[in-house]
């Protein structure tokens, strides 16, 4: 659920990378961490097993910079892909504003993809969210492998609600930024629709509808049993006082203005016209009083002069 903090002048959004085990979720985050400017990303924190498999989540804070006077931040998480860790996966998904589903394109992995997607749908439902109304992107990863499903086959099997999709080779960094950019756009678009005055144009959003709200989880499965280690990569401060080189983007942004078709016309009256109208009203009232007084005098009801 997007948090808007007017005291800190911050907007915080949560993005979750979901998908089957070894599909490349953590690799996506590693690429974002590597390619984004140091001043805009914090540490990449992974709670992983000794074999470098995600145990709880990976976490990367990303700072987009100033957007219309608000520091706009994304907290990006991955979930553990293995079936066994469903309860922790559900916890990480709580409050997600957008989801990237990373599917493995390698032939023979379709059942795992479908199972994970179904699991995503169920877990979103437990948090009160409908997958069809949640900003979601499908990323078909590992496109460089020799034996992969065609994009049409992937679409047919996974994309029942016509969500945007991207092909990627996350290991080489291909398709990682476009995926995240599109999802971030959809999340901000839904925020814009819900919280900004109507005249503001859309962010990206070919398909942007979001009922991004969280809720209490009802997970009951037993979670972890393997030894966990926590690793932190590269240090780069991202919090509060960091001077952002991208802070001026809001001034560089296009200043297109559109008027929503739903906006109601407003009657505008100029000050001069209002003054003239007041004078006319006063004149009519005074004339009426004088005329009434003369008529009453003529009728003999009152006497104007002694």
């Amino acid at each position: 659920m997007v948090q808007i903090n007017f005291a800190l002048k911050e907007v915080n959004c949560k993005i979750v990378y979901y998908g089957p085990g070894l599909s490349g979720k953590t690799t996506n985050l590693e690429v974002v961490h590597k390619k984004a400017p140091d001043t805009s990303v914090g540490d990449l924190t992974s709670i992983a097993t000794e074999g470098d498999r995600t145990l709880f989540f990976d976490f990367l804070p990303l700072n987009l910079g100033q957007v219309a006077g608000m520091k706009t931040k994304f907290q990006i998480y991955t979930v553990p892909g293995q079936v066994y860790y469903n309860s922790t996966r559900k916890l990480v998904l709580q409050g997600a504003d957008g989801v990237v589903f990373v599917a493995d394109s390698k032939r023979g992995k379709m059942n795992e993809n479908i199972e994970s997607l179904k699991n995503l749908e169920e877990n979103l439902k437990e948090h009160g969210l409908d997958i069809a109304n949640t900003p979601i992107i499908l990323q078909y990863n590992k496109r460089d492998l020799p034996d992969v499903y065609s994009v049409e086959e992937m679409e047919e099997a996974l994309n029942a609600w016509d969500a945007p999709h991207f092909e990627a080779v996350a290991r080489d960094g291909k398709g990682v930024f476009p995926t995240l950019k599109r999802l971030a756009g959809m999340v901000l678009e839904s925020l814009n629709e819900n919280h900004a005055p109507r005249r503001s144009p859309s962010v990206v959003a070919p398909k942007a509808s979001a009922d991004s709200s969280g809720g209490s989880t009802t997970a009951t499965a037993v979670a972890t049993s393997r030894t966990g280690t926590m690793r932190t990569q590269r240090t780069a401060s991202v919090t509060g006082s960091v001077a952002r080189t991208r802070a001026s983007v809001s001034t560089q942004a296009p200043t297109v203005r559109t008027t929503s078709s739903g906006a109601r016309p407003v009657l505008v009256t100029s000050p001069r016209r209002r003054k003239r109208r007041s004078s006319m009203v006063v004149g009519i009232v005074l004339t009426s009083i004088v005329a009434a007084t003369v008529l009453l005098h003529l009728a003999g009801i009152i006497r104007i002069l002694p």
Partner: protein, 168 residues
């Protein structure tokens, strides 16, 4: 499953300056009485709400994410043991320790302290602070909700920021 009323109750995601000022007063009072180093108020999605004390040496965002994850995992453990939740968590270190206290149903107060104070003092004053904070959140929740309004340029500005940030 999440009911509609749960859903509505959980919609409080907008914090105004007046609310944060009230909250900061409670946190400052708690820090002074308990002798703690700092405290962070974090919502259960892992977003920072506000903080008090000396937080310079802390990566607040990462701590917030880990605290939320830790608390969520512990809540599931509590459920498995037949408890609603463990309302207080305590992690003891050689130098610094951290106590996590639940405030209402969607906010966590994380308090960092060292040997300048005691666990008993922290726990005593934290309980009082949490009650006060809960009263503030309850008041916020019950008052008529005004719609949070972002700047009219938010949409175009966001588009520009995304184009700028994600250039490869």
């Amino acid at each position: 499953m999440v009911t509609d009323s749960d859903h509505l109750r959980n919609q409080r995601v907008v914090f105004y300056s007046d609310d944060i000022e009230q909250i900061d007063v409670v946190l400052a009072e708690f820090l002074e009485l308990s002798g703690c180093k700092c405290n962070l108020l974090i919502d259960k999605e892992g977003h920072m709400v506000t903080s008090g004390g000396d937080t310079n040496s802390i990566d607040e965002q990462t701590v917030a994410a880990l605290v939320a994850g830790s608390y969520a995992a512990t809540r599931e453990m509590a459920k498995l043991l037949g408890e609603d939740e463990f309302s207080v968590l305590f992690h003891q270190g050689k130098r610094d320790s951290i106590q996590l206290s639940m405030v209402g149903n969607r906010t966590i107060m994380a308090t960092v302290f060292d040997d300048q104070t005691t666990v008993g003092m922290v726990r005593l004053y934290a309980r009082a602070a949490c009650e006060k904070l809960d009263a503030i959140f309850e008041e916020i929740r019950n008052r008529p909700q005004k719609k949070a309004s972002l700047d009219a340029e938010f949409g175009s500005s966001a588009k520009g920021a995304l184009d700028f940030f994600f250039t490869e």
